[in-house]
C-alpha cells in the first residue's frame, strides 16, 4: 500500500509542479486569482488613483485664485495622501510574513521551483511512511480488505478518512459525504492538493471551494451483506474407487451483496451562528499551522525586520516599485531581492523552501479541519433533507424509497418529521390482487427531549414517536422450497408458489421511550420502550410489546 500511495502522490506532484507553470508570467508576483493577487492589484490601483488625484489637486492648488479654492485643493491633496498611505501599508502587508505568511510562502516557492519539487517529493515519502496503516494480513487490521471487500482504493479511502465503515453482524456499512474524498487527500497531500482558497504552492491542483461546499451537502451510505451463500461445484476428476470418487471443487456465488444504498442531499439548512461555529472548532483537533507560521516569522526576524534591519530596508526600497512599476521584470527583481534578503539573514534556500512547504502543508490540514467543523455546525441546525433509499431486502422484491426529512430543535425538544413514498423497482406480478408499483406511503414524527439531570450521575431522556404507513400494495415475499426464509415458516403453501403476499391496509405504530444514562464519561445506557401497533406488514393483528436494553461504551474506560 505504501508504494501505491507514493505513486499517487508523485503523479500529482510531477503533473502539478511543471516548470512552465512555475514561471511568473503574470504582472503580479502572486497568482492573479488568489486573495493575495487580487489584493496586490487593488492596492496598486488604489495607490495609482490616489497619486493621480494628488497631482490633480496639486494642479488645482496652483491654479486656484481664491482662498476657498486653495483650501479645497489642499483638502483634496490631504485626502489623496491618506489614500496613498493606506494603499502603501496594505500592499506592504502582503510581503510581510507576520501579516500574510500565505502570500510570502507562495513567493518563496515560486522563486525556487527545483527545491520546491524536491522538498515536496521528500514530504510525500515521509508522509506516506507515517500515514500508512496496517496491511490486510496484519492481525488486528481495521482495513475493509480483511472483510472480503477487495477494493484497494476503497480500503485506502477508508484508512485516510474519506469514508466511514462499520460492521454489524455480517453487514458492513460504508458511508460518507462526497467532499470527504477531497478533504482526506488534502489532509495528507502536504499542500499539493488543496482547496484553492488555501493554495500556496504555485501550479498545483486545487478544488474550488464552491464545489466543496456543494459536495459537502451530499452523502451516501451503502450496506453490504457479507454472508452471502456461495455454492461449490464438484467436478469428477478420477475414476470410481469402489463407492467413492475424487472431485475438484470450484466455488461460485458472490462473497457479498448490496443490501441497501442510500443517497442523501441537504435541501435547506439554517445558517449556523458564530457561537455554533466556535464550539464546533473548539471541539475539533488542534492544527499545527501556528508552529509552521512561527518558523516563517523567525526567518524574517533573522533577516532583520526591526527598524533599520535588512528586511525593512528591502521593503522601503521595494515599495515604490511594487506600487508603481508596470514592468513585470521590475517586480520580479524585487521578489528575487526579497529571497536574497532572507538568505542573507542566515536561512539557506533549502530551509526557506522547507519552512514554506511546512506552512503549506499545515494550511491544508487546517482547511480540512475547518471544513469538518463547518459541516458539523452547519448540519446540526434545522435542516430539510431529501433521501433516496435503494433497498434489496432478503427474499423480497427490490424497492426504492423517496423521503423528505425535517429536523428542528424547539427549546428542549428535538423534532423530526418524515414523509416518504416507496415503490417496487419492477411491476409486481399481475396475479397478486391489488398490487401496483406504489408499495406504500409513510409519515412519521418523533420528539426527543433533551436529557433531564436526575442527580449528579444520572440523566433521563424521554422520547415519543408515531409512524403511519399506508400499505397501498401488498408486501411481497419471494419463496422457494430450496431456500426457506429465515424466521418465517409457511403451512399449506402450494409447492408451486414462488411469491406470497400479505393484506394491504393502514399501519399505525406508536412508541414511548425513556433512556437512563450515567453521568459524563460513565458510558452506560439503559433504554426502556413500549411499542404498540394495530398491525405489521406481515401480521394483521395488533401487537404491543416492551423493549428493555442495556449498553456500555467500553471506550469510556480509556477516555479518562
Amino acid at each position: 500500500m505504501n508504494r501505491a500511495i507514493v505513486v499517487v502522490y508523485l503523479a500529482v506532484a510531477m503533473a502539478a509542479i511543471s516548470p512552465s507553470r512555475m514561471s511568473g508570467q503574470a504582472p503580479s508576483p502572486f497568482h492573479p486569482k488568489t486573495d493575495c493577487g487580487q489584493s496586490f492589484e487593488q492596492y496598486r490601483a488604489a495607490y495609482q488613483n490616489a497619486t493621480a488625484d494628488y497631482q490633480n489637486a496639486e494642479a488645482d492648488f496652483q491654479k486656484a485664485t481664491d482662498d476657498v479654492a486653495r483650501q479645497n485643493a489642499a483638502k483634496a491633496q490631504q485626502d489623496a495622501n491618506t489614500k496613498q498611505q493606506s494603499a502603501r501599508i496594505g500592499l506592504a502587508r502582503l510581503f510581510n510574513l507576520r501579516e500574510q505568511p500565505g502570500c510570502v510562502a507562495y513567493l518563496i516557492l515560486a522563486a525556487y521551483p527545483n527545491q520546491t519539487r524536491a522538498g515536496l517529493f521528500l514530504g510525500f515519502v515521509t508522509a506516506a511512511e507515517k500515514q500508512v496503516g496496517s496491511t490486510s494480513s496484519t492481525s488486528g487490521s481495521t482495513s475493509l480488505v480483511s472483510k472480503n471487500f477487495t477494493s484497494r482504493l476503497l480500503s485506502v479511502a477508508d484508512e485516510y478518512g474519506a469514508l466511514t465503515s462499520s460492521t454489524s453482524g455480517q453487514t458492513t456499512t460504508v458511508s460518507g459525504s462526497l467532499d470527504q474524498l477531497f478533504t482526506a487527500i488534502e489532509h495528507v497531500s502536504s499542500g499539493a492538493f488543496v482547496e484553492c482558497a488555501v493554495k500556496t504552492i504555485p501550479g498545483v491542483w486545487c478544488v474550488r471551494s464552491g464545489l466543496m461546499n456543494f459536495l459537502g451537502r451530499l452523502s451516501y451510505s451503502t450496506s453490504l451483506d457479507l454472508n452471502q451463500p456461495s455454492t461449490i461445484t464438484g467436478t469428477a476428476t478420477g475414476t470410481v474407487q469402489g463407492t467413492a470418487q475424487q472431485v475438484t471443487g470450484t466455488q461460485g456465488g458472490n462473497s457479498f451483496a448490496l443490501s441497501q444504498f442510500t443517497a442523501k442531499g441537504f435541501i435547506w439548512a439554517a445558517k449556523p451562528k458564530k457561537e455554533d461555529l466556535l464550539k464546533a472548532w473548539t471541539d475539533s483537533a488542534d492544527t499545527p499551522a501556528a508552529t509552521a507560521r512561527q518558523k516563517l516569522i523567525d526567518i524574517q526576524k533573522a533577516a532583520g525586520d526591526d527598524p533599520g534591519g535588512a528586511w525593512q530596508k528591502w521593503l522601503a526600497n521595494a515599495l515604490p516599485v511594487l506600487l508603481s512599476s508596470s514592468k513585470e521584470t521590475d517586480i520580479y527583481a524585487q521578489t528575487q531581492e526579497l529571497m536574497s534578503t532572507f538568505v542573507a539573514g542566515g536561512t539557506s534556500a533549502q530551509d526557506l523552501v522547507r519552512a514554506a512547504l511546512d506552512y503549506s502543508a499545515s494550511l491544508a490540514s487546517t482547511a480540512a479541519a475547518e471544513r469538518t467543523a463547518f459541516d458539523k455546525a452547519a448540519w446540526s441546525k434545522p435542516i430539510l433533507t431529501f433521501e433516496y433509499d435503494y433497498n434489496t431486502p432478503s427474499n423480497q422484491p427490490t424497492n426504492s424509497t423517496f423521503r423528505l426529512i425535517w429536523g428542528q430543535s424547539l427549546k428542549n425538544w428535538k423534532m423530526t418529521g418524515n414523509a416518504a413514498g416507496s415503490i417496487y423497482n419492477s411491476t409486481p406480478s399481475s396475479s397478486i390482487p391489488g398490487s401496483g408499483r406504489l408499495r406504500d406511503i409513510q409519515l412519521g414524527i418523533e420528539a426527543d427531549r433533551n436529557p433531564y439531570q436526575l442527580g449528579n450521575s444520572l440523566t433521563a431522556t424521554f422520547g415519543a414517536a408515531y409512524y403511519f404507513q399506508n400499505q397501498t400494495s401488498p408486501a411481497i415475499l419471494n419463496v422457494s422450497p430450496s431456500s426457506p426464509i429465515s424466521g418465517v415458516s409457511f403451512t399449506g403453501l402450494s409447492s408451486t408458489a414462488t411469491q406470497v403476499f400479505t393484506q394491504k391496509g393502514k399501519i399505525h405504530v406508536g412508541q414511548l421511550k425513556i433512556t437512563l444514562a450515567g453521568g459524563s464519561g460513565s458510558g452506560w445506557k439503559f433504554p426502556i420502550a413500549i411499542t404498540g401497533s394495530n398491525r405489521t406488514e406481515l401480521i394483521t393483528k395488533s401487537t404491543i410489546g416492551a423493549q428493555v436494553g442495556v449498553s456500555y461504551d467500553f471506550d469510556s474506560l480509556f477516555a479518562k
Partner: protein
Amino acid sequence: MCVLSVDPNDITGTTFLVNPAGIVTIEITSLTGTVIFSPKGTTVTDSAGKQIAGTSFPTPDSYSFPTSAGQTYTLETEYVCLPPNSTGTLDEACAGGVKLGDIFPSTNGQVFTIEA
C-alpha cells in the same frame, strides 16, 4: 470611541498607537463566510513576553485587552475560517476604526505591535 491609530513611522503598518490608554477592542468583519478568532492562539503579551490579564472575547469575532500608558504589547491573533474560503478584515471595534489587516484563508494568524 476609537483609540488606535497607525504608527506613521512604521513602514510595515503593523505598529499601532493607543491614545488614550485603556481597553482596546478589535473585531473581525467577515466579507465572505465567517471568520472568528481561535481563542487558543489569540493573545496579548507585554514587553517581557508574559500574557497580560483581563483579556476577553465578548463575541467569537471580537477581542478586548487592557493597555497601560508607556507600555508596548505584542498582539498575536489566530483565525478560523468557516468554511475555509472565508475572508475578512481585522478592525478596531468602533465607528471608522482603523483597519489592522486583511484576513485571507491562507493568513492563519497575524502579529501586531501595540504601543500605549
